[in-house]
């Protein structure tokens, strides 16, 4: 089995690209972990759709205040400088282009930047939340995702097969095997697991990987 990054490690890698003072929205699930891995000396300000800017980490169990939760309905804490606002103001921040980065999960990403992450098809109960707003609002939209599905099928594709969340919105993918930019409608490989050849990676990718500069090793600490 190929060595691959854990979700925690992908979150760590994504965190390295967040600047000091950046305004960041982290999607429910894996992306939420990015907040834990801010490099020393950098402090991003986190936004949650339900109306908080600049919240802190999870409280100790038993000390939760259920009026102080994030978009995933998990309890968070206050920090000096936190601000509360209503949902229309919150999505003004999102849609108005005021967030520097949004990091989301993905079912599929296409080489033109299309993202599918909200619906696996017509069966079951559809749920979209704030994802469709986030992909068209933040200055930079990145995705954290396993490189392939549980069945080993590529998640990075020429075109998405699942219902879209947004068109041409993703610019960087942090996968379990590589860091890939989306530029001019193409996947551009930036970093890959050192143990993996470009050919092996290409075989697990559903669209052509372009190489425009030396590909760096994707090196992430044990976490």
């Amino acid at each position: 089995m190929t060595a691959k990054l854990s979700p925690t490690q992908m979150a760590w890698r994504a965190a390295q690209d967040i600047d000091d003072g950046a305004y960041v929205n982290l999607g429910i699930g894996f992306p939420e972990m990015v907040a834990k891995f801010q490099p020393p000396g950098r402090e991003a300000i986190f936004h949650t759709e339900n109306g908080i800017l600049g919240f802190g980490e999870a409280p100790a169990p038993g000390t939760e205040d259920w009026d102080l939760i994030n978009a995933g309905k998990k309890a968070v804490t206050l920090k000096p400088g936190t601000a509360f606002f209503h949902h229309a103001d919150s999505f003004a921040m999102v849609r108005g282009g005021h967030l520097d980065v949004a990091i989301l999960g993905a079912y599929e990403v296409a080489e033109n930047g299309d993202l599918a992450n909200w619906s696996t098809g017509p069966k079951g109960v559809p749920a979209v939340g704030g994802a469709m707003d986030l992909v068209h609002g933040a200055k930079r939209v990145a995705v954290i995702t396993d490189h392939v599905t549980k069945d080993g099928k590529p998640k990075l594709l020429k075109a998405c097969s699942l219902p879209l969340t947004g068109v041409g919105c993703v610019t960087r993918v942090y996968s379990s095997l590589a860091v890939i930019d989306i530029e001019g409608g193409r996947f551009v490989l930036r970093e890959k697991m050192p143990s993996l050849s470009v050919e092996d990676l290409q075989a697990m990718t559903g669209a052509e990987l372009h190489i425009t500069a030396p590909v760096a090793d994707l090196i992430v600490p044990e976490l």
């Binding site: 339900n50 908080i52 999505f91 109960v125």
Partner: protein
């Protein structure tokens, strides 16, 4: 002018069959549990109101609040962004059985449609949902070279809302992230009824810190120490309580 109401039953007395009702809250935070339960009490006693269209971000959790309203069979249609929760069984079963209709709306579009309803803006354009299934059938227009979807305002006959402090003029504050959709829904309903933890005298709320000015509120009822949906669900509460 005195907008205070004596009790929860009076507060929900004006809601009739077939109305569109906005219910505040994001998950459990800011959800007016006691007002919802008062509405269920009325339905159990009188068979009304039913056939409601409910606007909420979610679709209820467990067997209290909005989930209990759905479980009681009072809701024919739900307009929401995220009908999932820790325990979404009530909505899920009703939906899959075809007993309830769902209009799924992206969360920011839902918020903006409600604000637009309150602000007299019948339609607006947003980049959100462009090129997706949720934009199907909606007009698209290009501004400055970028395509946008036209969305319509959302209004309601009633809003039931949870706030923190309120005065007899209807001025309100909220508590932390329990603010969420509540101030918007106050604006967008013909009649807005608010449960507050405490009714205070006019002037006790700093005029700089009023979040919802009283003009958007028609009734205020005090509910001290309101229930939190999350706490009820952890205790596996069911509404109405089933007698042994």
């Amino acid at each position: 002018m005195d907008k205070t109401l004596p009790d929860l039953a009076t507060a929900v007395a004006g809601i009739s069959d077939g109305m569109t009702v906005m219910i505040g809250g994001f998950g459990g935070s800011g959800a007016p549990i006691e007002l919802i339960h008062a509405l269920i009490d009325r339905f159990i006693a009188t068979g009304h109101p039913c056939e409601l269209t409910v606007v909420n971000n979610n679709a209820g959790n467990g067997h209290v609040g909005l989930a209990a309203l759905i479980e009681a069979g009072m809701v024919k249609k739900l307009i929401c962004s995220f009908p999932r929760s820790a325990d979404p069984v009530v909505f899920t079963e009703a939906y899959l059985a075809g007993k309830i209709t769902l209009e799924l709306v992206p969360q920011g579009t839902l918020a903006e449609r409600i604000r637009a309803g309150g602000a007299g803006i019948p339609a607006f354009y947003t980049p959100t949902s462009y090129g997706t299934d949720l934009a199907k059938g909606k007009p698209v227009e290009v501004f400055d070279g970028r395509p946008y979807v036209q969305e319509r305002w959302l209004k309601a006959d009633f809003a039931i809302v949870k706030a923190h402090l309120g005065d007899r003029l209807g001025n309100l504050t909220y508590r932390m992230a329990a603010r969420n959709f509540n101030p918007l829904m106050c604006m967008a309903a013909a009649t807005t009824i608010v449960q507050v933890s405490k009714i205070v005298e006019p002037g006790e709320i700093d005029p700089e810190s009023v979040i919802t000015p009283g003009i958007f509120v028609q009734g205020v009822v005090q509910v001290e120490n309101p229930a939190q949906e999350e706490v009820l669900n952890r205790a596996k509460a069911v509404y109405p309580e089933v007698s042994a």
